[in-house]
Amino acid sequence: MGSYQTFSAHVRDNSPVALVTVIEGPHIGSTMVVTPSGIVGGSLGNSDIDRVVGRDALGELEAGRTLVRHYGPHGESTPEDLIDTATVRIFIESFSPPPLMWIFGAVDFTAALARVAKVLGYHVTVCDAREVFATRRRFPMADDVKVTWPTPMFTENGHRLSSRDAVCILTHDPKFDVPAIQGALATSVGYIGVMGSRKTHAKRLERMAEVGITSTADLARIHSPIGLDLGGRTPEETAVSIVGEIIATRTGRNASPLGVSDGAIH
């Protein structure tokens, strides 16, 4: 199997992979494929440089970084080593699995949110305890539809959630949303949003207090009512306001129009 086949198979499986390419120097254009288990294909020209760059690529892959690094022809990497020797420039490109979005509640807003999340590249899972509603037919755009209560979902899979991922709780049902909030708070998920009117939110805060969710740190992680204040009404408009809030949470921006703010755009 060629390097491209090995590389594309990993990307399709959503398993982490780094593609390493010589972009300047001897063996320009040669590639190597690196996964968490090591070098799985290709070569950059000699075993010395493969070993050194393979190790560095693994570090970059773990951090999800894509960048250019410089080496000597045999993988020399200290500044002194590189003074009198030709430089090899290596492009290390990390391909991480897509971020995850779990949506609780199989409602109309869920279908719209799942569609918008797919546009942004999320792997989307829809969860609801009601078998009649949580069906593939109603959510063909989701990657996975699970008939389950929140607690077992988080107990079994919560360890998979990281700061890149999002949990959106759209159930409106106290039986469902409080356990979902508890489950999400126990993970390191980057975004937790809960749907409901301001009145629903106030009542929910009381119920959360009853189960012990009172710390400022926990409450600060919960975006409720979910979404940015765009003034939209339809499920699709609401979905855009939710993903807008997810992006702003990740980047730490306050989501005001660029026209009224200054500073760097990206």
């Binding site: 399709r12 894509t66 250019v68 391909f95 990206h266």
Partner: protein, 105 residues
């Protein structure tokens, strides 16, 4: 490059030669970061993009020249700097470095 795989596979199944252009570095403002990629087949068909449409047509010309052997695989720079005054640039004023090579690995 994830989004290019389906087109690349189809072209390769059809026996077409393919070049890939990847953004390896951006200086200043740029619409797409390192890793943005575009594939071009021998007939000039394109998949993906590497900027907001500013440099794509120039990348196609470079990719076809590399596929035909007129030019070697190399880093191509677009933008405005003192030593490299390329005709094509990014409207936002940034400098974009792309590595373009035939997909023969």
């Amino acid at each position: 490059m994830r989004e290019l795989l389906t087109d690349i596979d189809r072209w390769q199944t059809d026996g077409k030669r393919v070049a890939i252009a990847r953004v390896v570095d951006i200086e200043g403002s740029g619409p797409r970061g390192a890793g943005a990629a575009m594939a071009v087949n021998q007939d000039g068909e394109v998949s993906g993009s590497v900027s907001g449409g500013c440099v794509e047509s120039a990348v196609v010309s470079e990719a076809l020249a590399i596929l035909s052997g007129e030019q070697p695989s190399r880093v191509v720079t677009f933008g405005y700097s003192d030593d490299e005054a390329f005709a094509v640039g990014l409207t936002c004023g940034g400098i974009i470095h792309l590595f373009i090579q035939p997909l023969e690995w």
